[in-house]
Symmetry: C2
Subunit: 317 residues, 2 copies
């Protein structure tokens, strides 16, 4: 089958072996896939991954034990837990230490004609949601995870630091709480959707001098983002971390103690909520799409995804 | 008056000027004071402090506008807020950016015959609490702040990393929740009080291989403690930071994201709760006292407070 493969850089392979289905898994044909910041970080060594990347998808089930799944259009949770360790048994399967993660950790991903996932991970996509919407389910769920972790009230001040793919989804989700939100970004060419939704957005230099927010979400995707975000959090406030990258960061831990800041790591979120939100029309994604590439042009697609001002790049087999 | 003074090291001064009372302040005669890890850090440049250190005290009010305070035995909150900035007006006076902090920030402290504090900061000590108990009110309040910030349920696993002054108070307070607690320390000579209270305590090397807790409190007082504490936190768990020190720490922020860890800075806590707890007898402090020094032997007292195996050193004028 066709696949993109990471192995000292990324290349297209027209003869990659089809995945073998393990017990409980379904074989899924990729319909549409999205390139995410994590995929770009994998190229820089993050998670030490080799194989087929990709974890944002909408696909159609071709093979499954459960006959009601066959032929269904699905999205799917990316973590494949062992279901028998202490972490799984206390219900936190997303953090199973033995887990595989689709296109990130010991499991080939969706930038291919076919891939496999446990049937339990799949969510059927309602008919009212298009393929180009459904492919945003995984990052939208990650955005929603913030509200699973932190109570953002209508009166709260919030900064989203980052106007990339995830930042624009996060801003849309948090704006629904009614909070006093500002997105601090770097690429005005990406701001159309936010401005259309009356979400405030500015460059860091245009933020009011000394501005502090109760909640700051760091989704700039760079290690330098932490220091910038930290300066924007008011005492007793929350700094939500979304960026992953392959380096450590120097942190003034004492200042976190003195200011009683909570730094909250935030990752994967609830798929069913994300599908509900896409169906509601309250989150718009169409304008975020910067291009659709055939898998065989995947290397070019990765380059495009890295460009400033480009939002979501899609791949299709 | 007599005072200890930090100014390139610490020295005793028998002729230090008495403090001048500002509007709203009381003049307090020091009865007993405690040396805390922060005082030792001030010597290493923390907070860039010069002047009289000391913020743990019990004293007697000699001068005050409020006649009901005069002659009373008091303890006092250490932060002196401006009460007019945005932070104060939203009720978070402890984090006022213009605040003075007793013996830490632009205000002389209690290692002297006399000091001043706003009358609003003072709490009268009930008769049933001895001076040697009352001097622990401030660090006990800091221990209680953890429970103001994190809900620790009886079924939760908790590690307190550090068997110093604050660690032993924190362990006593958290044990009252009924949680599954273990203190990880370095100085078995300090463990008598914990063992008497049936609180588990061990060396790091004797902790079960791969042990993870839902809540880890880092109060080792060293920058290396963060890395050790981080390894002990289970996914979705809480890492409470209590240590302050004068250096930055390299942190793997991506692992906080992947494991969805909350890192929570924790500082000053509720004095009235601490006094209630001391009165109840549920927290024992007498055994924690490693010696009582006259102020004129303060330099020696600081040296003693730094020794391994020594817990709380008290000073009296």
């Amino acid at each position: 089958m066709q696949a993109l493969v990471i192995d000292n850089g990324v290349h297209f392979d027209s003869g990659f072996a089809r995945p073998v289905i393990k017990p409980g898994e379904a074989l899924i044909k990729t319909v549409l896939a999205g390139i995410c910041a994590t995929d770009l970080e994998l190229l820089h060594g993050y998670a030490n991954f080799q194989g087929v990347p990709g974890h944002e998808f909408v696909g159609v089930v071709e093979v499954a034990d459960n006959p009601s799944l066959i032929g269904q259009r699905v999205v799917g949770e990316i973590n494949c837990p062992c279901k028998s360790c202490a972490t799984c048994l206390r219900g936190d399967t997303n953090h199973c230490p033995n887990r595989l993660a689709l296109g990130i950790r010991h499991k080939n991903g969706v930038f291919a004609d076919y891939f496999t996932l446990p049937q339990a991970n799949l969510h059927i996509v309602p008919a009212g949601i298009s393929d180009r919407q459904a492919v945003f389910t995984e990052p939208l769920a990650a955005a929603l995870e913030i509200l699973e972790q932190v109570h953002i009230a209508p009166g709260d001040t919030v900064v989203v630091l980052g106007d990339g793919r995830l930042g624009i989804l996060i801003a849309q989700v948090l704006a629904l709480t009614g909070c006093d939100l500002v997105v601090v970004g770097r690429h005005p060419s990406k701001w159309g959707l936010l401005l259309n939704k009356s979400i405030k957005v500015c460059l860091a230099k245009d933020l009011e001098e000394g501005y502090l927010a109760k909640v700051v979400v760091e989704c700039s995707g760079s290690s330098g983002g932490f220091t910038q975000a930290r300066k924007l959090v008011q005492p007793k406030g929350y700094l939500v971390l979304k960026s992953t990258f392959n380096s450590d960061t120097l942190v003034d831990l004492s200042s976190l103690v003195v200011d009683e800041i909570s730094v909250i790591g935030s990752r994967c979120g609830p798929f069913s909520t994300a599908l509900r939100l896409l169906a509601s029309g309250n989150v718009e994604v169409e304008e975020m799409i910067g291009g659709e590439f055939h898998l065989k042009n995947g290397v070019e697609a990765f380059k495009k995804a890295k460009e400033k001002g480009v939002v979501k790049i899609l791949l299709k087999p």
